[in-house]
Symmetry: C2
Subunit: 192 residues, 2 copies
Amino acid sequence: MEYPNNIKKPNHKTINYSNRGMDLEQFINETNEYYVEKDIALIYKKPTPIGISEAVYTPHGRIIKNGYFKSPSTLDYNGVYRGKYIEFEAKETQSKTSFPLANFHEHQLGYIARVLQHGGICFVLIRMNHKVYLLKGEDLTQFISENTRKSIPYEYIVEKGFVIEEKYNPSLDYLKIVDQVYFKGESLWQKN
Amino acid sequence: MEYPNNIKKPNHKTINYSNRGMDLEQFINETNEYYVEKDIALIYKKPTPIGISEAVYTPHGRIIKNGYFKSPSTLDYNGVYRGKYIEFEAKETQSKTSFPLANFHEHQLGYIARVLQHGGICFVLIRMNHKVYLLKGEDLTQFISENTRKSIPYEYIVEKGFVIEEKYNPSLDYLKIVDQVYFKGESLWQKN
C-alpha cells in the first residue's frame, strides 16, 4: 500500500513519546540499521501491536480512525545473527540502586524463559547509572526464580552483566558482546 | 497498557479483511498457537507496521485517531524453532497456472535472499489449486535470478515445492515439512 497523499507524514519530533527509554531505543535502532547495511545481522524492532476499533476506506487505502496500543507479550527486538535466533528487550531506569521488574510487561518474563528453552539467544539491555549492560536471559530468569524481590539490585547487574560501550557508528555495538558471550564461551570474555 | 474501557473490542468477524489470503493466514495462526501451546516453536505473525498521523491522550492511554498501514519490507511470520531463526510469508492465488510475483511487496524478495545469507530458514507458503506448498527461499530466489517472468509457473512450484497437508489440529503442520527439508536433508524426504 502506498503512502496516502492526503495524510500528513508523521513528524516524529512532534510525537510525544514517553521520554524514558527513548535514547536507548534510538541507539539500538541506529545500530541495527548499521548491522543491516553492513550485512552483519538482520535485527528489527517489532512494530507495536495495534488494535483497530474503527477503520475507513479511502482511495488511498484503509485508514485507521480509532486504534489503541496493545501490550506486547514478546520482546521488542528480534532477528537472525549467524544463523541463530536472537531476541531482546531494552530498558532503562533512573534508579541508581536497583532495576524494577515492573519495567517488564506481564508475560514478558515467562516469554524469555521460553525463548531460551527453544535455543534462542535472549537477553535484556539495561541502561542504568549511565552504562548499558547486557544481562543474559538465563541470569534474569535465575534471579527471578531465586528471589521474591520486585527489583534486581544494581550489584547483581554489575556482577552478571556485560558492559556495552557507547561509541560512534555503531553507537551501541551489542553484537560484539554477543560474539563474546554466546559464540566463544563466557570464559574468553574479559569483563569491563 | 490496559485495554481502554471506552473502546469497543474489535470484532474480527466484522472487520473487512481482504479475503485473499485470509483463510491461509487463519490456518497458520491456529497452527502457530498450537506450536506455542505444545512447546514446539515460538513463531508469531508480526504486527502490521502502522504510521500514526494523529494521536490523542485519554485516561486509558494514547489512542490513534488517524493512522495508516505501511508496506512491510520483511516477511509476515518469524520466530525460533530448534534454535534456528525461521521466517516466512504466506500467499495465495486464484490463478491455476502461475503464481504472480506481484503478490510480494517491494523489497520482500531481496529480503528473502538476505535472511538466507544470514543462515536463517526462509520460505514461502503458497496456496494454489487447493494445495499448500512450501517453496524454499533458495528455490524462489533461484527462479527469479534465472527468469524474467513476472510469475512462477505452477509446474515449478509442484516440482520444487513440498505439499503441506491440511488436517485437524494443527490445521497446517508446516514444521513437519521443515523438519524433513531443513533438519534431515532433502534426500530423506519423500515428496507427496
